[in-house]
């Protein structure tokens, strides 16, 4: 089809485009390789294949925004089809007589059926592509969907602030329209014998514009000339996403969710000494440098971030990735290599945002491309602590107390088991006599006056169920889960050593914890320090006691209507969704699920050291929002049945939740409408355990 001159021009253009593209990807790969060693990845080919399958079926995007995800799917299949379509179009241009219209009737021995199928797919997919891209452009530029924006107090690269991302989207959006439109036109102009039933859209265009030899040339050049420009452009835009996201997904975190990467890479490199955590971008593991190139800035992570939700907090996990990519782009494609040396707290995330993260993992969980902005934040915290950055006074007090007392409440070690000494039966000391279950009680459940009644209730039920259990009294230290997430790796290691020494003194078969946070680190992180134990959350142990008939449910609690909050560190981190729900079912309560449940549970705002903060961001707090969500959920049932008279309960299985949500009920003025209870209180009521009144009524002199 093309004239000789056209062919020469096209081939020269193609070589130039290939050169720029190769250069673009070389720059990207070089910059990724500058990152630190990442935790070892096992069976890389296997996980790349798995990722390819996930991408092919678009599995990971459907975790949120179902409708938009479906449109993304259309776009994805359209572009995959177009990779083949473009190759065929090049052949049509370069090979004389190669033409596929009308089932390829001009070609000798053409497989007509196959060609017709191809034409139909190409034609229909062109339509899908145009619709999908127009929807996305309308969403961004006409409807101006808020989900694509960042709040004013979020640190943003100046280029992003000036609309760099929007321009990027517009460029690629216009390209797709021009490219697909021109391709359809080039096919339409070829239809010199009227409509081809296998090319409905092209035939329709043909009916309007007719056939034209010149038209074929012009449209072909518009369609493929654009490609020569856009392919190199992609490597310099957020659309590196097309190529990098499947790879990033294939090389994503393999360790358990609840296991943080070490502060210093485990891999030893000759002549290289690493400081803990991250100050500059290349202090991040290479897999997390790559995150920036995989991110297309869909902001799904921002949607689910409990702290982005809180108006006053300046955190947006997606802004972190966006800023990372712009920083890298300005340094590697631009002339600002010096900016790579700037602290990440000036270039990608503000210190206030670093310290707002609750480490709830919602951002990592929802990310369709396997990014880990939360892990970057923890690494930045680690270095800030080492570098003597002034930290929140509440956090500092907690850390200091943890270092000297082993708990964050500035209480003496010997006071840890005081609640147990007040019990009406002896609670074994697991470091002195063998027990089957070592109960790791945790700081909040051991010391906090608001939670101790529940702790005692757990003890009573364990006792009543004949469970052979004991606690470690003053030998127990804080597990260190939140200490590690605050970034105090050294203190975390110290606490692990203390607890490992205590475990060494004890004889037990398994550990049961009250706090999901302790549960997480004992289960997922202690094994790296030699602590390989079977660890259970108390909800699992209680369920077992009931299922084995050791505890009998005497009263069904049908007068309660309840909803359940999945604690991040039990649910999203460790998949502990069923035991609490099963318990509630056995108790006979009326159970309603909140919209955000299980994997998509909404953080209470206490994790990652937030509960220690002296300063709290203004505006509605995550826990308050959650209580409102619960009330709305209850309201739905109430509207259907206005004579409804049940007591409405918000059930928790984490001591920190007990505190956070009891406060939130008060601060939102919802006392009397909803009550926060630990699941243990319901189990006790159903099983028939009474608190001994005499012992409780007289508070001991503190």
């Amino acid at each position: 089809m093309l004239t000789l001159v056209e062919k020469i021009i096209f081939i020269l253009l193609a070589i130039t485009a290939a050169g720029f593209t190769f250069h673009g990807f070389k720059v990207i790969i070089d910059s990724i390789r500058k990152g630190r060693p990442a935790p070892e990845l096992k069976d890389v080919p296997g996980s790349l294949v798995k990722a390819a399958i996930a991408v092919l079926f678009q599995q990971t995007i459907f975790k949120a925004r179902k409708v938009l995800s479906a449109i993304h799917m259309g776009l994805f299949f359209g572009l995959i089809t177009y990779a083949v379509v473009n190759l065929v179009d090049v052949l049509e241009g370069l090979v004389p007589g190669f033409e596929l219209v009308y089932g390829g009737k001009h070609l000798p021995n053409a497989p007509t059926g196959l060609i017709n199928a191809f034409n139909l797919i190409a034609d229909v997919m062109s339509g899908f592509l145009l619709i999908a891209i127009i929807v996305f452009l309308v969403r961004r530029f006409i409807l101006k969907d808020k989900a694509l924006e960042y709040r004013d107090n979020v640190l943003l690269n100046p280029k992003v602030k000036a609309g760099g991302q929007a321009r990027d989207s517009l460029t690629v959006g216009v390209f797709v329209i021009m490219h697909v439109g021109a391709r359809l036109m080039s096919q339409a102009y070829r239809l010199d014998a009227g409509a081809d039933p296998f090319m409905p859209i092209a035939s329709f265009l043909n009916s309007m514009f007719g056939a034209s030899e010149v038209g074929v040339h012009v449209a072909w050049w518009i369609s493929l000339g654009w490609v020569m420009f856009i392919i190199p452009y992609l490597s310099r835009s957020k659309h590196t996403h097309f190529f990098m996201s499947p790879i990033n997904l294939g090389l994503a975190k393999q360790n358990p969710r609840g296991q943080l990467d070490p502060a210093i890479p485990l891999k030893v490199i000759e002549g290289q000494k690493f400081d803990p955590g991250a100050k500059q971008i290349y202090d991040l593991a290479w897999t997390r440098v790559m995150d920036a190139y995989a991110c297309v800035q869909c902001n799904r992570c921002q949607d689910v971030c409990p702290m982005n939700f809180a108006e006053g907090a300046p955190l947006s996990p997606s802004a972190l990735e966006v800023n990372k990519r712009y920083l890298l782009k300005e340094a590697t494609f631009g002339s600002h290599a010096d900016r790579l040396l700037l602290p990440l707290t000036e270039t990608v995330i503000s210190p206030e945002a670093v310290w707002s993260c609750t480490t709830c993992y919602a951002c990592v969980r929802v990310c369709p491309v396997g990014n880990e902005p939360m892990a970057d934040i923890v690494d930045i915290r680690r270095r800030m602590l080492i570098d003597g950055y002034e930290i929140d006074s509440g956090v500092q007090n907690a850390l200091q107390s943890l270092a000297t007392n082993g708990n964050w409440m500035s209480k003496g070690k010997r006071l840890r088991g005081r609640w147990a000494k007040e019990m009406e039966f002896p609670v074994k000391n697991a470091t002195e006599e063998p027990v089957e279950y070592l109960w790791f009680v945790g700081d909040t459940a051991s010391f906090d006056e608001r939670v101790i009644p529940n702790t005692k209730m757990v003890a009573r039920l364990f006792n009543q169920g004949g469970l052979d259990f004991g606690i470690m009294y003053q030998n127990e230290s804080n597990s260190g889960n939140d200490v590690r997430r605050v970034g105090e790796e050294g203190l975390f290691e110290q606490l692990v050593e203390q607890n490992m020494a205590a475990f060494g003194k004890a004889q037990f078969k398994q550990i049961v914890t009250t706090d999901p946070h302790s549960f997480n680190t004992l289960k997922n992180e202690y094994p790296q320090f030699g602590g390989k134990f079977e660890v259970k959350h108390y909800t699992v142990t209680l369920l077992k006691l009931i299922e084995e008939g050791k505890l009998t449910i005497k009263n069904k609690l049908s007068n309660y209507k309840v909803t359940f909050h999945d604690p991040c560190y039990l649910g999203r981190y460790n998949g502990g969704f069923t035991a609490p729900r099963k318990l509630l079912e056995l108790l006979g309560v009326e159970f309603v699920e909140m919209p955000r449940n299980c994997e998509n549970s909404f953080c209470c705002g206490a994790g990652g050291g937030q509960i220690w903060m002296g300063k709290v961001a203004p505006g509605e707090r995550p826990a308050e929002n959650r209580i409102k969500e619960a009330l709305t959920t209850f309201e739905v049932g109430r509207i259907a049945n206005p004579t409804y008279q049940k007591t409405q309960l918000f059930i928790v299985t984490c001591p920190k939740d007990m505190i956070m949500y009891s406060d939130a009920v008060k601060t939102t003025g919802n006392e009397g409408k909803i009550e926060v209870r630990d699941i243990i209180q319901l189990v006790a009521e159903a099983v028939g355990v009474e608190e001994p009144k005499v012992a409780e009524a007289v508070p001991s002199p503190a």
Partner: protein
């Protein structure tokens, strides 16, 4: 500039304070750094960071566990650590002040910081007595110190929020109420690193004095009563209250 910080290791009150006989049961109590000394270490390090010099932290080792405190001070920016091997958990502030002054004598100190008081005796004597032994001026209740040349500007806060500013020529002893900035956090990894590499100079206690005071009795406060919770419906509770008031002859 030679900056010296005199510190005190005292029984912790995070736990219930155990008492045996007429003194604290030193065997079953943890020792911690006096909280005002945390402030004075910070103030000393801030002065060093502003004008240069070395910070030497010196304290009496009461129960053989002072090393941990000295390591923490070194991790926060002190340069040298000295412990006086007192090994007497009951050494009073007069004794400690004497021992400290003997240890500090040879250090040609330009400025000496001490916590304004400590919670174990509440007598605030270490600073003034150090000043007396070393023949230096003393200023206590200080909330900030700025050194320039051979004098210092010292701020002090009085009750009622009234502040005062002094110009004092060096050398002098400062009793620190609060550092100008909150004490910094020393990451545990740094403290542990210091613990492995630092050397702590040991000095034998020298000199003998006494406060002349003897403790006659020490006891936790006696619980004189407790709250009684009245339960029942509002009518029942009201009836019980009336009954109670009558029985006490109040109604």
């Amino acid at each position: 500039m030679n900056i010296v910080v005199a510190i005190k290791h005292i029984p912790s009150i995070a736990d219930d304070l155990p008492v045996s006989g007429n003194t604290v049961d030193f065997d079953s109590v943890d020792f911690v750094l006096n909280e005002f000394d945390e402030q004075s270490i910070e103030q000393a390090v801030l002065v060093k960071e502003a004008v240069g010099g070395t910070v030497t932290v010196v304290g009496v080792d009461m129960i053989g566990e002072l090393d941990a405190v000295l390591h923490l001070a070194l991790a926060k920016g002190a340069d040298k650590a000295v412990k006086i091997t007192g090994d007497d958990p009951a050494a009073d502030s007069h004794t400690q002040a004497k021992w400290l002054s003997e240890a500090i004598k040879g250090m040609s100190a330009d400025i000496i910081f001490a916590g304004v008081q400590a919670s174990n005796d509440l007598d605030g004597q270490i600073g003034p007595m150090l000043a007396a032994y070393l023949d230096m001026p003393y200023i206590g209740g200080v909330s900030s110190v700025e050194v320039a040349g051979d004098s210092a500007t010292v701020n002090k806060e009085f009750a009622g929020g009234v502040g005062a500013k002094y110009e004092v020529s060096l050398p002098m002893v400062v009793g620190v109420q609060a550092s100008v900035k909150p004490p910094r956090y020393a990451p545990v990894s740094k403290v542990r690193q210091v613990a492995q590499t630092a050397t702590i100079e040991k000095v034998a206690p020298s000199g003998e004095v006494s406060s002349g005071l003897t403790m006659k009795k020490m006891a936790p406060p006696v619980v004189t009563g407790h709250a009684e919770m009245i339960e029942g419906s509002s009518k029942e509770v009201a009836a019980k209250i009336v009954e109670l008031l009558k029985s006490k002859g109040l109604a």
